[in-house]
């Protein structure tokens, strides 16, 4: 009985198969015989979509000085199917390529498709293009396609501007907008504002006959979409200041960051060694990129926000502020210093200066011993809750100045520096740690690391007497109203306004005070500069020279941080560089010829190689 009923099932199976085949044949009958729409679609034409590439937005500096523009470039394309025998030698001569290149490219194109266009030679130079245009008729199957290349009128700000390059497979897979061969901003501003700069690709739909010849626009261009050009953007950068900064830093390794305290706008962001931005545009980009990548001085590395350095004595300013805020010192507090801070077997040296010093003098003379006292006071006496709580309190205020965290600049790959959690020390010292263990952080050595951007930002916060704006590079976008509102919010630091004046007075005295003041070399007639030197120990060679400054004292227009690797004392290179930057920006021209000559001519690269 069971078997019988199962036997009938074969008919069910056969019926299903026959049914499906009948449906398919009926459908085929409908599209092949009844419906003429497909025939006309095919016999006369097939649609070809030709992408219209938009021009990329231009980039200007804060004074509307053009920094990046586009230059036409021509890709030579080939459709293998349309090729006729041609004079290879002639083509090689026009294009400056070898016969083996021609062979290889043609083989590649044929492998891709005999009927679709492939790129034969990218970015034919303008000179070659002129000749090529005249003789292109000799080479059926070849045609040119216009693309644009980024060009830079001045050889400056390579790190800030970044570069564009072809999208990789990963991007193509994740973002539908990009097709293989498209360009995208890979670093810097080009990357950060890719969406604004790139515009919107357009498309033109053509009808193509069976021999792939364009027969005209499809539906009178109803489906065409013209390309929307990219938006131009204006940066906060001052191109002249940037160029001057790069010149000051030539043959030195390091960074300058200048910020307008009243807005958080970045006026200059120098990282050296740098390179000519045109190197990373055009046909030679790949070769140049590899060269730059292999350079032992790492010119591609953007030190301004990726180098994490010890802040050295510039950190004393922060500790003075936190000391005042937590009430462990007052402006009158004095400590004596006998060539350093000595307790038990512990000893931290200091240079010779008068003793004892009060808070203002301690900044003016950059006394190490004073800050060992201040820092230990903060950790031991700020509250009765113990070192962990006091340390975390200190850390919280330090972070409120932007240290140890990403600031949120509109720029890719920012690093956060380091202000360790208390746990870090608990792990190292097995929970039995005291303020003496980490006292070197009082003078910006030890476990603390900062980026030049963070140093400049904290200087701006000091100049503002207690707040900063997130530093940013964007000033204006063509079609948008204003910029991201997050750059217009005042960020208050964890130190009250009243504590800033004595500290700023100390920084003023450091530059303008009598003998023994550490930054006298930064003095500039007619401008009240407040600054603080720093010298970071470098186990690999000469110490790093550091300086932070802002000016004028009462109405700050510019805050600067300068970091010169292997530059020795802060007063030797960093301070004069900062002083020159301030002079250039506030006065407009530099009158101290001998002073800037000395910096221009200094070559510190040999010091790097000692290691």
């Amino acid at each position: 009985m069971q078997q019988v009923s199962l036997n009938t099932r074969k008919y069910v199976v056969i019926s299903i198969i026959i049914l499906i085949i009948i449906i398919y044949i009926a459908k085929l009958f409908s599209i092949q015989v009844l419906d003429n729409q497909y025939k006309t679609s095919a016999s006369s034409n097939v649609l070809r979509h030709i992408t219209q590439y938009p021009v990329r937005g231009l980039i200007y500096d804060r004074n509307n000085h053009l920094m990046v523009y586009n230059e036409a470039a021509y890709d030579l394309m080939v459709i293998p199917h349309q090729l006729k025998a041609f004079d290879t030698a002639a083509l090689c001569e026009i294009l400056d390529v070898t016969p083996s290149y021609v062979d290889a490219q043609l083989r590649k194109a044929k492998n891709y498709s005999r009927y679709k266009a492939s790129v034969f030679l990218k970015q034919v130079s303008a000179m070659n293009y002129a000749q090529l245009q005249e003789e292109l008729y000799l080479f059926p199957g070849f045609f040119t396609q216009t693309r644009t290349l980024r060009k830079y009128p001045d050889p400056i700000a390579a790190h800030v501007l970044g570069y564009v390059g072809e999208v990789n497979d990963g991007i193509v897979e994740n973002d539908k907008y990009y097709k293989s061969g498209d360009y995208i901003g890979i670093s810097g501003i080009e990357r950060a504002y890719e969406h604004e700069l790139r515009g919107q690709k357009g498309v033109e739909v053509f009808m193509v006959d069976v021999h792939n010849r364009i027969k005209g626009s499809y539906n009178d261009g109803e489906h065409d979409r013209s390309a929307v050009p990219g938006q131009s953007i204006q940066l906060t950068l001052d191109a002249e200041l940037q160029a001057y900064g790069e010149k000051l830093m030539q043959n030195k390794i390091g960074s300058i960051v200048a910020i307008e305290p009243a807005s958080g706008e970045i006026l200059a962001m120098v990282s050296t060694p740098t390179y000519h931005p045109n190197l990373l545009s055009g046909r030679q980009r790949g070769v140049n990129y590899r060269k730059l990548q292999l350079d032992s001085l790492k010119p591609l590395f953007n030190r301004a926000l990726q180098a994490q350095y010890p802040p050295g004595s510039t950190f004393k300013v922060l500790n003075a502020l936190i000391g005042l805020q937590t009430g462990v010192v007052s402006v009158q507090t004095e400590y004596s210093c006998y060539y350093g801070y000595h307790i038990g077997s512990f000893s931290l040296g200091c240079h010779g200066h008068t003793s004892p010093l009060n808070l203002i003098e301690s900044i003016q003379h950059s006394c190490n011993a004073y800050y060992c006292h201040v820092y230990r006071n903060i950790l031991d006496e700020a509250s009765d809750a113990g070192i962990v709580v006091n340390y975390q309190k200190w850390r919280e205020i330090a972070r409120s100045f932007g240290f140890g965290k990403k600031l949120g600049i509109d720029f890719p790959f920012e690093l956060q520096g380091l202000i360790p959690e208390s746990k870090y020390f608990e792990n190292i010292y097995k929970s039995a740690w005291n303020s003496l263990n980490i006292v070197s952080m009082a003078i910006g050595q030890g476990e603390v690391l900062v980026t030049p951007l963070q140093m400049a930002n904290s200087t701006a916060a000091i100049a503002n007497r207690g707040f900063y704006y997130v530093p940013h590079l964007i000033k204006n976008i063509e079609k948008e109203n204003g910029i991201d509102p997050k750059y217009e919010v005042k960020r208050y630091v964890g130190v009250d306004e009243e504590h800033f004046d004595p500290v700023i007075e100390g920084m003023y005295q450091a530059v303008h005070g009598g003998p023994g003041s550490t930054a006298r070399f930064a003095k500039l007639e007619g401008i009240e500069i407040c600054g603080k030197t720093g010298t970071a120990e470098n186990p690999h060679g000469e110490d790093h020279s550091i300086f932070i400054a802002f000016a004028p004292k009462d109405d700050p227009k510019i805050a600067v941080s300068v970091y010169v690797e292997n530059g020795g004392y802060g007063s030797v290179y960093a301070a004069p560089i900062a002083s020159l930057i301030i002079e250039k920006y506030l006065i407009g021209e530099v009158k101290r010829g001998w002073y800037e000559e000395r910096i221009f001519n200094a070559n510190l690269l040999s010091r790097e190689k000692k290691d």
Partner: protein
């Protein structure tokens, strides 16, 4: 006692003939699809058609080998073969090479192999072996579970290779299970699941849930003698909905969907108690189906959004008419339809096709080879090809039904199911009746692995069939 057999006399020549017609037609169409004037010899080994000739020659060797092996070998080595293929699938998953986003190739030297193609053959053998065991009760839970493992293990591994199309082929083995006695209700549940799947993707969830409730009510009415009780039950359910609706209106303010879900849960609870008291197992089943269908509807949405890859989603969406984007996912199908449609009644003639040749149709030598048939041979050509396949399938069913052993019959049906699924989906996708899931047209599509796998699948059956008289009943 075993009778001696003579392969030459006993092999089914009808099938062999159909096979060779299809293979040769495939070869000619590959030639036409990727025809290149510079290499215009059909045996030019640098071109796909030259290579296909090599694969065909190798297939003949394969056929001879299969014929020389004793027919009992296949049943005997069904499980080892299966395990070996599973092993290969694992290897390919770990060390395989990616082609077109599917990690399904093993490359040894210059030689590429797709174990997934051979897994169908091995699974067919293993399934036949399992189902043909003596005293096989297909509806025993343990057996159902084993069958599910045999079928879904290779399917899952292939799915992990990102080759969804090939994985779906295993669903076709349901036809075998049906022929071997799997109850219609199980198939109906499968069918119901498919409908719900489509509804869940196309309609708002609320409508799907209402549909489920409706189906449950119809089932209750159909399966119970006491119609009055059923009507009472439905009435009770409606009252629950009403009461909960009012409660919701007054205090909770959730959407009606939640009211419906709450009502179903409440009524199910009451009905379950009644079922327990009156001992009505069928009632349990219906409750389970309803609740299961609800859960299923929600999980489909989840799976669709989280498991399927974007291009698969958009292809399904396109097929269901949710997305209409002639330049996007539907572009291929549109081009394919233009190519087939442009062939007209009698076609443009051999090598005269333009749509396929000029790269307007994608994968024109593999997944979309049917376009070349349609364009160059027209409606006559497509009909002939479909009818040839139909003849082959019916012939195979006839052969399967004349087997004396369960093993060979089941294996024969597996061959039919797999071939049929490939045919239906492959041709269906070129004319817009099936989703574009990229599986080859048996014997036609370019490619060594797929040709050999189909050849082995078919000829092992012919070998077993040739020996059917060995076994005396």
């Amino acid at each position: 006692m075993r009778r001696r057999i003579n392969i030459y006399r006993d092999i089914d020549w009808v099938t062999v003939l159909l096979y060779f017609i299809l293979v040769i037609m495939g070869w000619l169409n590959i030639y036409a699809a990727v025809y290149n004037e510079e290499h215009n010899s059909i045996i030019d080994l640098s071109m796909k058609y030259g290579k296909q000739m090599l694969w065909i020659a190798a297939s003949i060797l394969l056929i001879v080998t299969i014929m020389l092996i004793d027919s009992r070998f296949y049943a005997f080595f069904a499980y080892p073969t299966y395990l070996f293929v599973i092993f290969l699938l694992l290897v390919v998953l770990l060390f395989g090479t990616e082609v077109n986003a599917s990690r399904s190739w093993i490359v040894i030297g210059g030689f590429r192999l797709q174990p997934g193609e051979f897994a169908k053959f091995a699974t067919a053998l293993a399934l036949a072996r399992f189902l043909s065991a003596e005293n096989m009760k297909i509806h025993k839970f343990k057996n159902l579970l084993s069958i599910a493992v045999i079928i879904f293990l290779p399917a899952a591994l292939i799915l992990l290779q990102n080759d969804t199309g090939s994985a779906l082929v295993y669903a076709s083995l349901l036809i075998v299970l049906y022929r071997e006695g799997l109850s219609v209700s199980v198939l109906l549940i499968g069918f119901f699941a498919a409908i719900l799947f489509i509804m869940a993707l196309t309609l708002p969830v609320l409508y799907v849930l209402l549909f489920i409730v409706f189906v449950s009510c119809v089932l209750l009415l159909l399966l119970f003698e006491a119609k009055k009780d059923v009507l009472k039950g439905i009435f009770f359910f409606l009252i629950t909905v009403g009461v909960l609706y009012l409660i919701n209106l007054i205090s909770l303010d959730r959407s009606f969907m939640w009211v419906l879900i709450a009502s179903v849960v409440t009524s199910s609870f009451v009905l379950t108690i009644r079922a327990l008291i009156h001992k009505i197992p069928i009632l349990f089943l219906i409750i389970a189906i309803t609740i299961g269908a609800f859960a299923y509807t929600f999980s489909v949405d989840y799976l669709f959004d989280n498991v399927l890859v974007a291009h698969q989603r958009s292809r399904i969406n396109h097929l269901l008419g949710i997305e209409s984007d002639p330049l996007g996912a539907g572009y291929n199908v549109n081009q394919s339809k233009i190519a087939i449609g442009s062939g007209g009644f009698s076609g443009k003639g051999f090598l005269q096709g333009t749509q396929t040749k000029y790269d307007f149709v994608p994968e024109q030598s593999t997944d979309f080879i049917f376009c070349t048939v349609g364009e160059e041979w027209g409606f006559m050509g497509t009909t002939v090809v479909l009818l040839l396949f139909l003849m082959l399938l019916i012939r195979l069913i006839v052969l399967a039904e004349r087997q004396r052993s369960g093993f060979s019959r089941i294996y024969g049906y597996a061959v039919v199911s797999i071939l049929f699924f490939h045919l239906a989906v492959n041709v269906g996708m070129t004319i817009g009746l099936a989703p574009v899931i990229g599986i080859p047209l048996p014997f036609f599509s370019y490619g060594g692995s797929s040709l050999w796998a189909f050849t082995a699948l078919l000829f092992v059956f012919l070998r077993i069939d040739a020996s059917r008289r060995e076994l005396l009943r």
